[in-house]
């Protein structure tokens, strides 16, 4: 049934039809008709942020914690340019987002009108796809396609730019069931064409002496079933499994086969096992440079299986032996079925030798740090936070830097979708708005943003949002008055010249919280820590907990840039060999 509505009404109807419950946004001249329509309805809730950058990170947090599409609504010009960072972030980490931007009316496009910018031009490289809709009749087909593309295949952000006159103009609404999207515009799973690949995969794994699973964020994007299947297959094979920063939670931290995170600040045993394995099974990870270290020394003696939904990830940086293009759930279902049909088994005695080796590496105890009675060590702060929150339904978000790596190392995740961090783009200022989004989606959960003193200031204005919507988000600041990771690199690679990495004139975070009518807490000494954490958890309001930690603590273990997996540096006293240090300096 076709019904005539205004463009703005079609936008809202499309969102309702797509099951959208909440939109994060900020009004402005070029989206006023949509905001007017929003005012007249009750089915969609709008969360007003304080800067558009906050809206898109909140939508990302919403999307990551629920698996649904996050929706953003902002105005033209600065509204659109402010979401560029978040779009790029969502692109890098494969987060499904639909971002609606207003545009100046069509007759003004190209005239350098007030708040005009070439939104589709600016966002072309940082979206999966984008649209400029010039005809109200095309709005509903575009929206239904946009939602499909955002979630289809490898998820990502899609932007829809709508000139103001199109929002006012009348057009027909078409229901989503009636929209046919041409197949070439969607992901076409290759897996069904290549059953022999599955045979190769299971044969390779069954013959492996030193197998390892390398698990990434694709397993989370594929849905909760994927995590179950991965755990199941890891158990069937008895092989060790390591996870990327994006993949934390796919296999529970307490699972006996889990080696924890790998990569630049990953576990020693995980990186050593990656280096020495003979068969690597990459499921939904992309051989990111934080994971691989030096490419020519990356896992030199292994056969590599790579399961990825995005074919462009195959052989992009690391050549693999058996690529399988497809969704993790589909591919693993087939693999497990094949494994059972062929009654395959891994060799128990080989695996025992492999585990013995791994258990020896574990004895190094790479996360060991020297605790202190006078100062709070940042690692200790996160250990305590974990111990005091582990029995609750907890979501952890982070900003970017040392605190992020410590959170990844010391907070233990047992379930997928509980850990929200900016991995690919490394966006400081991500964690707090993401926590707001996660809290909106999970009102009863405990949502904590583990932050640094520098990162939190990048989107601190969202305090106002959190308080307005009574979101009891907790901000747990590891305050060392430094941009800690910058300082660490300056110490290790730039002769300790701390150029612009000390943050002078930090606000008093307790008073800052109070000025927003939130609650501010502070711990200066180790003995105050537990009380502050408990009070934070038990306060049903937005809380900033300002935790004063050791100022010059470094994050270890570390594969310094330019080094390989087996050249991990475990502590400050251990120096990287000089030639790779020199080469590594130019890397990021």
């Amino acid at each position: 049934m076709k019904q005539e509505m205004t463009g703005a009404e079609i936008v809202l109807q499309s969102l309702v039809d797509q099951g959208v419950e909440v939109v994060f946004g900020y009004p402005g001249g070029a989206v006023l008709p949509i905001y007017d329509t929003l005012f007249k309805q009750n089915s969609i809730k709008h969360v007003l942020v304080r800067q558009e950058g906050g809206a898109i990170h909140a939508a990302e947090g919403y999307a990551r914690s629920t698996g649904k599409v996050g929706v953003v609504l902002v105005t033209s010009g600065p509204g659109a340019t402010n979401v560029v960072t978040g779009l790029t972030d969502a692109m890098m980490d494969s987060i499904p987002i639909v971002c609606i931007t207003g545009q100046v009316p069509q007759h003004l496009i190209g005239s350098d009108a007030f708040q005009e910018c070439d939104t589709t031009g600016i966002t072309r490289p940082c979206t999966k796809h984008n649209y400029l809709v010039k005809d109200p009749n095309k709005l509903s087909p575009v929206f239904h396609e946009a939602f499909t593309i955002a979630q289809d295949g490898r998820p990502g952000p899609v932007l829809v730019d709508i000139p103001k006159d199109v929002q006012f103009a009348k057009g027909n609404y078409v229901e989503k069931e009636k929209i046919i999207i041409p197949s070439h515009r969607l992901f076409e799973p290759e897996i069904f064409k290549h059953d022999d690949k599955i045979n190769e995969v299971v044969d390779l794994i069954s013959k492996a002496k030193k197998p390892i699973f390398y698990i990434g964020g694709g397993c989370i994007n594929s849905g909760p079933k994927a995590s179950e299947l991965v755990s199941q297959f890891v158990e069937i094979t008895g092989a060790p499994a390591t996870m990327t920063l994006m993949g934390l939670g796919v296999i529970g931290s307490s699972h006996p086969n889990s080696l924890g995170m790998l990569g630049m600040h990953g576990m020693y045993e995980a990186n050593m096992a990656m280096h020495e394995c003979d068969v690597m099974i990459n499921i939904g990870a992309r051989f990111d440079d934080r994971v691989t270290g030096r490419l020519d020394a990356f896992s030199p003696n292994s056969k590599k299986i790579h399961i990825d939904i995005d074919e462009s990830n195959i052989n992009k940086t690391i050549k693999v032996d058996v690529p399988v293009v497809g969704d993790v759930t589909t591919v693993l279902t087939k693999i497990i079925q094949k494994w059972k049909d062929k009654k395959l088994k891994t060799n128990a005695s080989d695996l025992k030798l492999w585990w013995d080796k791994i258990n020896n590496w574990k004895k190094i105890d790479c996360l060991n740090f020297s605790n202190d009675e006078k100062e709070i060590k940042p690692q200790y702060a996160i250990q305590r936070l974990y111990d005091l929150t582990k029995d609750k339904k907890t979501f952890i978000t982070t900003e970017v830097g040392q605190h992020q790596m410590w959170a990844a190392q010391f907070y233990k995740f047992e379930k997928p979708n509980r850990w929200l961090t900016s991995g690919g783009l490394g966006t400081m200022g991500y964690g707090f708005p993401a926590a707001i989004g996660a809290q909106v989606a999970n009102p009863d959960a405990l949502v904590i943003d583990i932050a640094g003193d520098a990162s939190i200031l990048m989107n601190i204005q969202e305090m106002s949002t959190a308080v307005q919507y009574r979101l009891p988000v907790k901000i747990f600041i590891l305050n060392n008055e430094y941009m800690g990771m910058v300082r660490q690199w300056q110490e290790l690679l730039h002769g300790g010249r701390y150029s612009e990495s000390y943050t002078d004139s930090l606000p008093d975070f307790v008073k800052l919280a109070e000025s927003y009518k939130a609650v501010g807490l502070r711990a200066k000494k180790p003995e105050e820590l537990d009380d502050v954490i408990n009070e934070m958890i038990n306060t049903d309001k937005t809380v900033i907990a300002d935790i004063w930690v050791s100022k010059e603590e470094n994050c270890f273990p570390m594969i310094q840039s330019g080094s390989a997996h087996n050249e991990m540096v475990l502590s400050k006293d251990q120096k990287q060999d000089e030639s790779s240090a020199e080469k590594g300096k130019i890397l990021v």
């Binding site: 999966k128 515009r185 992009k316």
Partner: protein
Amino acid sequence: MNKSVYDSPDNTAVSKRHILTVLVDNEPGVLARVIGMFSGRGYNIDSLNVAEVSNDEHLSRITIVTEGTSEVVNQIEKQLLRIVPVHSVSNLDEEGSAVEAEVALVNIDLNDSNKKKIYEVCDFYRARKIENENNSIIFEIAGASERINRFIKEVNQITKIEIVRSGPVAISTYKNTKED
């Protein structure tokens, strides 16, 4: 492999010319998406040609000549396929047999002393003179890029010329290669 600084230096890979033809939905911004991918990821475009090939289905064909190792070109093909309005990508060099052609228009500075020589060269290369209202001497030559290069070189030795070239377009010689 890409050109990341993390990459291992691979001196053995040979870089060569490839012709890619990309079938796309003819919608606004599609060319920008394609060439933006090339510049954004640091790939080369030696020449580029775009035209609508099917009016009723709104399809355009983009012909791109690029240079790179087989790994780089393979990555280019996969990156192109990620672009939503792209239907298909073919690497004509890999398919083996393709014909390619390009068109050049050449404005020649002609006088009594060089006239005869130039007409001989044009005859030899089957360049066709195009009449125009200003009576300037403009020749059109079509064919393989190599042949056009030789033609231009020879005429250039005789007199000053101004050239415009379309860049090659190419098509597979296999029968029934209709895509999609």
